[in-house]
């Protein structure tokens, strides 16, 4: 079984399907604050602990985005409460693990909200197309 599938089944037990799939619920989270979006992006590729999210985000942005620990955990606290992320019980191999660390994973709701945010941003960029504001990549 895929790791992702495994997560999916787990989420279904936490939050009723109808809530996660309700577009109104997803929309109520948008727009996301940048730090929340970075967290969701980082967790979308696998479970991570706090410092892991910070280093991943920094690498991903080429050193541009530097999350501070307090800001990160403030957001994580909120996102845990609203069900966008959850504590992961998957842990790395024991020799790499530190028992004191907690790992976080993206929930299905979180994944949908992140997709929603991407779609929202794409729509914004699309609106700007043909205005000369968009630099050809």
């Amino acid at each position: 079984m895929h790791a992702q599938d495994m997560q999916l089944t787990k989420i279904d037990t936490e939050i009723p399907m109808d809530v996660t799939k309700n577009p109104e619920v997803v929309r109520s989270f948008l727009p996301l604050r940048p730090v929340q979006f970075h967290i969701l992006i980082s967790l979308s590729e696998g479970d991570r602990h706090g410092y892991g999210i910070i280093s991943d985000t920094r690498e991903r942005s080429g050193g541009e985005v530097r999350l501070e620990m307090g800001t990160l955990y403030r957001a994580l606290h909120r996102m845990l409460g609203s069900g966008l992320v959850a504590e992961s019980d998957q842990r790395p191999a024991p020799e790499l693990d530190d028992q004191r660390r907690r790992y976080y994973r993206i929930t299905e709701l979180g994944r949908r909200v992140a997709r929603g945010e991407v779609a929202r941003m794409e729509a914004l960029v699309r609106a700007a197309h043909g205005t000369g504001l968009v630099q050809p990549v």
Binding site: H49, G50, Y51, I54, S55, E68, M69, G70, T71, L72, Y73, R74, L76, H77, L80, G81, D98, R100, R101, R102
Partner: protein, 896 residues
Amino acid sequence: MLKIGSWLYALVARLLPSDMRESVGRDLVQAFEDQCRAVAREGRARALGVWARGFLNLCWTVLSERCLIISRHLRVAASEGVLGTGTIVQDVKLAIRALRRAPGFTVIVLTTLAVAIGANTAIFSVVDGVLLRPLPYPDADRIVTVAAATHPAPERAGEMPFSDRGYWHFVNNNQAFDGFGGYGAEPLEYALTGDGEPMSVQAGVMTPSAFAVLGTLPQLGRLPTDRDLQLGALPRVTLLSHGLWVDRYGSDPSIVGRDIEVPGGKVEVIGVMPEGYDFPTPNLDLWLPLALDPESVIFETHNISAIARLAPGVTIEAGVADAERLIARFDEAGYGPTWFTGVFNGKAVVRTLKEQVVGDARRPLLILLGAVGFVLLIACSNVANLFLVRAEARTRESAVRIALGSGRGRLVRQVLAESVLLAIIGGAAGVVLAYLGTMALVSVGPASVPRLDTIGVRGSALLYTGGVSVFAGFLFGVLPALRLGSEKMLDALRDGGGAAIGRVRHRTRSVLVVAQVALALVLLVGSGLMVRSFQELRAVDPGFTPEGLLTFTIVLFPPKYGLGEPTAQFYDELIDRLEDIPGVASAGGISALPLTGGEERYATRIDEFPPADDEFPPVFPFWRVTRGYFETMGIPVVEGRSFTADDHNARLGSLIVSQSLKDLYWPEVSALGRRIQASGWPAQSVGVVGDVHAAGLGFPAEPHIYKPMLDAEGGDVRRMTMVVRSDADPLSLVPAVRDAIATIDPDLPISNIRSMESLVADSMSRTSFIMSLLLLAAIVSLFLGSVGIYGVISYIVSQRTSEICVRLALGADAGAVHTMVLMEGMKLAATGVVIGLLAAVALGRLLTSLLYGVTSFDPLTLVGGSVIFLAVAALASIIPAKRAAGTEPAAALQST
């Protein structure tokens, strides 16, 4: 290091709201440790940076989360309809009533806050006036000073102004500056003779281009231009200061265009500068345009300081690069190769004018601001402690109110209303104290603090006070208020128990007290170091005897006093007349008194030690002195003789060297009769005198040379500072001195009338100023810290009364109880002392540049400070310990 950092971080993380702390708190600290460990590999500086950012971020997170909760409470309160204006008025009334019921508490809290907030505002006002406010010139941050750096040699300053030729070299060839001007760093003593009493005035000397660089226009008339200049002659025009214009010319606008009389002729007033224009030095009376000779061949005289305006887009670094390019080409301006091996090191010193003006006042001021910040923190934790005690006393009241259905919001609001009210009143009283304090600071502040005149409690300082008060109110009010309203506590109250809260409070209060002790010890050690420096400075023998000396300055102007013989005759006669005054033992004069700067410096050739071809001759400071100077000052003549009247009249070409100069060249043999040439003037040594700490008591005595008043070149002794020794109080001689001068010339003004003792005191004023303020801060915090310890120990004793009673009832003797309570207090104090010592050693390094004769790691001060603190802590614990030991078991048990 990592451990302390993590510990501090974890400590602050505990201030997060409980829900967040429980959900992610521990993990946050863990992840931060991970991060710190990871960056520790990249070097110490980087790790420290990451830690500091993370720590500040956490503080911010705590603050915003807490604010969020408060605003949520307020919203709830508002929706419950308890936040109308009516209820706020009611709250305030209730608070006033409650505070009036507890006058002791109110007075202590208000005094503590007013002193702390007042001190903060006063010091901030000084910092604001000196460091933060921009200089009063258009686009002032583009104005820079430019100088050539010199080789580090003990006998030379680190940077050197320009000669006439060097100045023109820069004017003509620079690419980085939009205007380059020259000025004399020291004002010229001048005299006004027409329009009333003759008056001694201070004149600033600046090239027209320097006026243009500054960019300030006169309030009347015009600025000088190059057409007003006359090389080698008296300037034809002058600008008046606002003050002189008002005082001497009655604010008459028609003064512009009129001639005023100065010794030797007339100058035309072309304008009046606005009030507060104080370049190059404050308190000038007029300005004269300065003409510099592009063809000058005098290279030894470097007395033209330079200011320039950076061209648009040019950074300071680019300015430095351009200046260094020009210094490398100084040979084009006529400088021979020895100048590069002996004087210029090729570097340029370009800094903003503000940096130049503020100078080394920056660090002491920031240290003082930090010190009063500490006092504020101590005051806040003290007040928070008092609030906790009060909350404790009110548990029953709160319980009853809750039982009667009072909402949690209301309880919190009432405590908040009290703390906010206290913070506002304390802040207001603080502003009053700050006004007084600032006035006091400005009046006792040493003259070496620049821009003192711009200091005042201003809008920005009031804004700062507002911020400080709100911060203080938050610190001491909100935390106890939230604890008061917390569910846990209310549950505990409902259960009728107090032990759980007791423990929580006990811990909080102990942490607060430990923090107070640690902060106060840092201040105590800091001020202790300054006290030790001051002692060391006072113990320095200046090389002369300042007691009983009167000093004053005389300036002689041509044509009444021609250069050369006539001035010499004047001073000869003056000394005779001064010595005729009853009670006067002797009198003499010098071109510039020790400790006041103003010496001349010459490249000096000693015949027996000629410099190699590629070597620059040594440079020594020179003073011109009259006969009687050494005897009057009490400077011992070690070898040979001092100057006599013959030295002036016969032009023997004699000079006198200092002991340290003799030790440098002729340590074993006599220094008499040695041939020494300074600026081409051959002379021979006729005496050796004791060393004088001329540059300041904190500086080692430099080898130096005295010339007679006149020499083969004629000399320039237009300005002389006279010294008069008597047994009486020096200043009581002033009328007799004035009379003596008037018998020679009734029109001659005298200025700078001082006792030598006050001059010596002034030279230590920076150290004594910082010392007094730090000492004040330390005493206040020592007091607050001991009050804190007393409060907590009393509290612990009251909490443990029943336990103590049981112990006593079971036969424990009073001495054991006494010791037990005492140890509680000492434990807190010792923890605080250990943390404080670590912090003091770490922060002591900031003081290093202000210390003299002690290092920042001074065991005596560190141990002394700790002992003082432990002693005070013991004293503060003895009273509650006595009370505990004297408890009547039966009575105490009945009352609980």
